[in-house]
């Protein structure tokens, strides 16, 4: 009876929950696509070339490394995702060699010297991005105006954050908040933005400055994939539903960052008073959502337990705030996340789950 059954011998459990590493990676990739397509649409078809360059470089690097160690890891999808995220983090006008170098650095040095998928302690895409940012600061901080706005301005320009930041170096007046400051400095807005803003202002009694709607929808200069907060949020809904990402990291990250901006943001970007920061401006610019939703949440490089994740997210929020508000780089998300990556093993050490049947020592008051 047992002759031709060719039965499988495997250890328990004999059944598994559905899902696999590859399905998770592809799910994240697909959820990122809307934001990517938006990038192509607003920045032009060249952007597609940048995305392909980074993805193809990442996949080839992955294939080469996998060949060296005689494993087959291409189909797990993590290299494509890393490549895509690197592309997302490039300015639209970047020369092609930069994303290629970033991808190769990410896959070969950050990922494979540590043993490939799961071994790395630092987010490969972000480390790759930071590597090329520090190597070629100039091209990495040249931005392109989105299609809707180009008729107003030249092709290259500063991103809102960059503009505010270099504005800060020379700016001594006191407009209330960076959005208004930009508006007054003649930063362009789309028609839709002006329309929606005035509609909101007149119907709800807000006094919003122009520009927020553009920032939220993605009509601003910035990295290819980071500009459309709206589409990034939409994509993440599916990831939340499938529990691929959990709330701890994004929420603690954004909350701590927002809170700090609200408290201290005004001291540097506005009239100098506390509790007057322009939270919306900082949330919608500089890749905060891309980072908080899709990159800080990379499981490999984030803590294991929810307590750890909260600490990690909060730390990233604090660092992003410090770097962005006080540091010399226009944004701060990438650096903050890779800095927190360094702390993850330590966080994991101190946030172990409580073991069953082991008395935790009660704190004597």
């Amino acid at each position: 009876m047992s002759d031709n059954l060719n039965l499988l011998i495997e250890s328990s459990p004999q059944i598994k929950q559905s899902g696999s590493t590859a399905s998770v990676m592809w799910a994240v990739t697909i959820c990122l696509l809307p934001a990517g397509i938006w990038g192509v649409w607003v920045f032009g078809i060249r952007v597609l070339g940048v995305l392909f360059a980074s993805i193809i470089a990442a996949v080839i690097a992955e294939a080469a490394m996998a060949y060296l160690v005689k494993k087959n890891t291409i189909q797990d999808g993590s290299a494509v995702l890393t490549g895509l995220l690197i592309g997302f983090n490039m300015p639209p006008s970047v020369p092609y060699y930069i994303p290629v170098v970033a991808s190769v650095f990410a896959i070969v040095i950050v990922k494979w010297t540590f043993g490939g998928l799961g071994g790395n302690f630092m987010n490969p895409a972000l480390a790759g991005r930071v590597f090329v940012f520090f190597s070629w600061t100039g091209p990495m901080t040249k931005w392109t105006m989105p299609a809707v706005l180009t008729r107003i301005d030249a092709v290259t320009t500063a991103s809102p954050l960059g503009a505010v930041k270099s504005g800060l170096l020379e700016y001594t007046g006191s407009a209330d908040g960076p959005a208004r400051f930009l508006s007054e400095a003649g930063y362009p807005h789309s028609v839709m933005d002006t329309g929606i803003t005035s509609w909101l202002n007149s119907n709800f009694g807000f006094s919003l400055s122009d520009g927020y709607v553009d920032m939220f929808v993605g009509n601003i200069p910035g990295s290819i994939g980071e500009v459309s907060v709206l589409l990034l949020l939409l994509g993440s809904i599916y990831l939340f539903i499938r529990k691929i990402i959990t709330w701890e990291i994004p929420v603690s990250y954004i909350a701590v960052f927002g809170l700090l901006i609200w408290i201290f943001g005004g001291t540097r970007f506005s009239d100098g008073s506390y509790f007057n920061g322009d939270v919306l401006f900082h949330l919608f610019t500089g890749g905060l959502f891309l980072g908080a939703l899709y990159m800080a949440t990379d499981m490999v490089t984030s803590p294991l337990t929810s307590k750890g994740m909260l600490i990690y997210g909060a730390g990233a929020g604090l660092l992003t705030f410090l770097i962005r508000i006080y540091g010399s780089f226009p944004e701060g998300v990438s650096l903050a996340i890779i800095l927190m990556n360094i702390f993850v093993p330590m966080i994991d050490q101190y946030t172990k789950p409580k073991r069953f049947g082991i008395e935790t020592k009660k704190v004597v008051k």
């Binding site: 540091g327 650096l335 800095l339 330590m346």
Partner: protein
């Protein structure tokens, strides 16, 4: 510079290991496990604080009055070496376990660039006695931070399948490199802006 400024500078911005290249030998050598890394970190901090004070005294009360500043290297290192040896003797006496964990690196603290480095840097920066002391402690804490983080990461790496040629010291360097990459986030401008 304010004291807080000095602390931030030496812990984060000019972290001895990750940006200044001082004290790398123990950073690579003693970061294999968390316990000895912490021990080494504290030992270095302690010695650096003492070295800062001692060298300040020598510099300002001997070398400058006698106009023999050219002897700073030799006199600093002489004092530091003696100090470290003293610490070594004390540790050996009170905690053989710690002594064993730090192994050959205790004598190497003497010849740890970080320790002489802080003495020379204090002089270059014209720090007063208290500033020197704080700088010594802060630089030591920066070392401690770096070596502690390094050791927790390396402990994790112990249970990953690192490609063979990279196991051990090479991966420690690569890890240090990536840490340094991230630490580039901290720069002078950040400090200046933060403190006003």
């Amino acid at each position: 510079m304010s004291y807080i400024g000095i602390i931030i500078t030496f812990v984060f911005i000019n972290n001895f290991i990750l940006t200044q290249f001082l004290g790398l030998c123990p950073f690579i050598g003693v970061s294999k496990d968390v316990e000895s890394a912490v021990g080494m970190g504290f030992a270095v901090t302690f010695v650096m604080a003492m070295a800062s004070i001692a060298s300040w005294i020598i510099y300002h009360y001997v070398l400058v009055p006698l106009d023999i500043v050219f002897l700073q290297t030799i006199s600093f290192i002489l004092v530091i070496a003696a100090l470290v040896q003293l610490v070594e003797l004390v540790i050996q006496k009170i905690s053989p376990a710690l002594y064993k964990a730090l192994g050959i690196f205790l004598p190497l603290i003497t010849t740890n660039c970080a320790v002489l480095g802080i003495a020379l840097i204090n002089v270059r920066n014209d720090y007063n006695a208290l500033e020197s002391f704080i700088a010594g402690i802060a630089a030591g804490l920066g070392f401690l931070l770096a070596i502690l983080l390094m050791s927790t990461i390396r402990a994790k790496l112990d249970s990953e399948w690192i490609p063979k040629p990279f196991r051990g010291i090479p991966i420690a360097f690569v890890t240090g490199g990536l840490m340094a990459l991230a630490f580039m986030a901290f720069d002078n401008a950040l400090l200046n802006n933060l403190l006003g």
